[in-house]
């Protein structure tokens, strides 16, 4: 993947977040504090502001820089969580990752998110998307299957009762709403899968 392709990938992810910013904010208004769309928008604005320079970096440097930009610009819960995810990916993925390297790095990044959030899958958070996607990835799923898994996993947060995050303050009243962080994670993963597939890098 050359720097142009990397730039295109980053821009595609950012575009998805910008398009869905209001939807994410609306989800967060229902069971949180109504800023998730704004938070991620601010984060991806910071990331795209570093283009094209950012896309010229190696994968590890690029991911660490993107993660650090999220940490320093987003705030809230999603800043440290998304930031940690990308920074950890950068730390472990290597300069020319093959599928096995990506699977391993994704696994490490998910563990880092769990440690940062002191959380697990099943608590109505973005981990409810990351964990099943990691499993699909490890099982060799193709782009379409990963995308479908991500979207379905976010939907599955609807009936859950939140144990972590702001929605946990609601107790039973958190049931019946999709978790905003799960939704945004699924959108990012779906876009990455689409892009990699389009660029011929993932079947």
């Amino acid at each position: 993947m050359d720097s142009q392709a990397r730039e295109q990938l980053i821009r595609a992810v950012a575009a998805t977040i910008f398009q869905h910013s209001e939807e994410l904010t609306a989800l967060d208004q229902a069971i949180g504090d109504g800023d998730h769309g704004l938070n991620l928008k601010r984060g991806f604005e910071a990331v795209t502001a570093e283009l094209p320079g950012l896309a010229e970096k190696s994968w590890p440097d690029l991911l660490k820089a993107a993660g650090m930009a999220m940490v320093m610009k987003v705030g809230g819960a999603s800043g440290p969580l998304f930031g940690t995810f990308f920074m950890e990916l950068g730390k472990t993925v290597g300069a020319e990752p093959d599928r096995a390297a990506v699977v391993a790095a994704f696994g490490k990044a998910v563990e880092a998110v769990k440690a940062r959030g002191r959380s697990e899958a099943g608590q109505k958070t973005l981990l409810d998307v990351l964990v099943p996607v990691q499993a699909a990835l490890a099982a060799g799923a193709d782009a379409a299957a990963i995308k479908a898994e991500a979207i379905a996993a976010a939907d599955k947060t609807v009936p859950m009762q939140a144990i972590r995050g702001r929605a946990s303050f609601l107790g039973e009243r958190s049931v019946g709403h999709m978790d905003p962080g799960a939704r945004s994670s699924s959108l990012i993963i779906a876009t990455v899968a689409d892009e990699l597939n389009k660029q011929g890098l993932m079947p």
């Binding site: 208004q29 109504g34 800023d35 940490v71 705030g75 819960a77 440290p80 972590r164 946990s168």
Partner: protein
């Protein structure tokens, strides 16, 4: 949305600039508006730094000054500040005796302050505040929210820091005050986040949200609008039960407005709360009435009780000179 603002993106910057200019005798604004700090740093004093999402003014920046905080980091509206803000603030007000972060228990705040603490060079401790009884407590969830009780912890720990207490003692003192302080809130109307442009939630003309959080998060239940007496009774009942208060205890009673409720109603709640506590034999030894821990333009209030021993009383009474709280000097 009806607000006295220019563009939605300028709200925070222009409000901070006005605040800093108005209180230039007490505070200065850090570069890129990352923090508000005291003008005077005292060598050898533990630095107290708080912060959190904006929209709760005067919390926290209004409590920067002699006898309270050394610095406050304002995040975007209702969004925790980022670690670079806390790191820059810690560097600016370092007195060589370590730093205590005072953090309200929201995962965003906790994680961002934690990342700042991990990247810090000097000794750093964090104090996590969770005084909101509206949320059920449990060790396996996020736990309770930090709300209006934060002011009381910041005042009492601030006074102790001013007299020269060390980092470990301040953390222990703060934890003790936090464990003796409980709050509960009620909203009569929603707040409107400027960037969202519309109310966070909507309530019928005859409804209120009992147990609401300071970000307009839903509370325990949505119920029919009740009388001031019934509201005071429900909130104080929950607080007194949770603190297991017995008669003859001395407390600080803090009636806090959420931003859209005028002082007249807050003093009325102060009266009704006192009458209720009187009936239980609980003695209001100190009080505070006003909109100090707000939720933008939300109408409603919270009640906070904090158990006072002689030490806490003396530290509460100690001189303070900040934009929002001032006495004794």
């Amino acid at each position: 949305m009806k607000k006295l603002i220019n563009a939605v993106d300028d709200v925070l910057a222009q409000s901070l600039d006005g605040f800093a200019a108005a209180h230039a005798d007490i505070v200065t604004l850090g570069e890129e508006r990352k923090f508000v700090r005291r003008r005077q740093v005292k060598p050898g004093k533990v630095a107290l730094i708080s912060g959190g999402g904006s929209g709760h003014e005067p919390l926290h920046a209004g409590f920067v000054g002699f006898g309270m905080l050394d610095a406050a980091c304002p995040g975007q509206v209702f969004t925790s500040p980022t670690p670079d803000q806390m790191m820059a603030a810690a560097e600016a007000v370092d007195g060589g005796a370590g730093t205590l972060y005072i953090v309200k228990n929201y995962e965003g705040d906790v994680m961002n302050f934690a990342m700042a603490a991990e990247m810090a060079s000097g000794p750093v401790e964090s104090l996590i505040l969770d005084d909101d009884v509206a949320v059920e407590n449990s060790t396996w969830t996020t736990g309770r929210r930090g709300v209006a009780g934060t002011l009381i912890v910041e005042k009492i720990v601030g006074a102790a820091a001013e007299r020269g207490d060390d980092l470990a003692s301040l953390k222990a003192l703060g934890a003790r005050v936090n464990s003796h302080t409980r709050s509960m809130g009620v909203a009569l109307t929603s707040c409107t986040v400027p960037a969202a442009g519309k109310p966070t939630f909507s309530l019928g003309e005859d409804e209120m949200e009992m147990g609401v959080g300071i970000h307009g998060e839903p509370g325990r239940r949505r119920v029919k609008l009740a009388s001031a007496d019934a509201i005071a009774e429900e909130m104080l009942g929950a607080i007194v039960g949770d603190l297991s208060l017995t008669s003859a205890t001395e407390v600080l009673l803090f009636v806090n407005g959420f931003g859209g409720t005028p002082l007249m109603e807050l003093y009325l709640m102060q009266d009704r709360a006192r009458k209720w506590l009187d009936g239980k034999g609980i003695k209001v030894a100190r009080s505070l009435t006003g909109s100090y821990v707000t939720s933008l333009d939300m109408a409603g209030c919270s009640l906070t009780l904090s158990v006072l021993d002689e030490q806490a009383k003396a530290l509460w009474d100690a001189p303070v000179h900040t934009p929002a709280l001032r006495w004794g000097m």
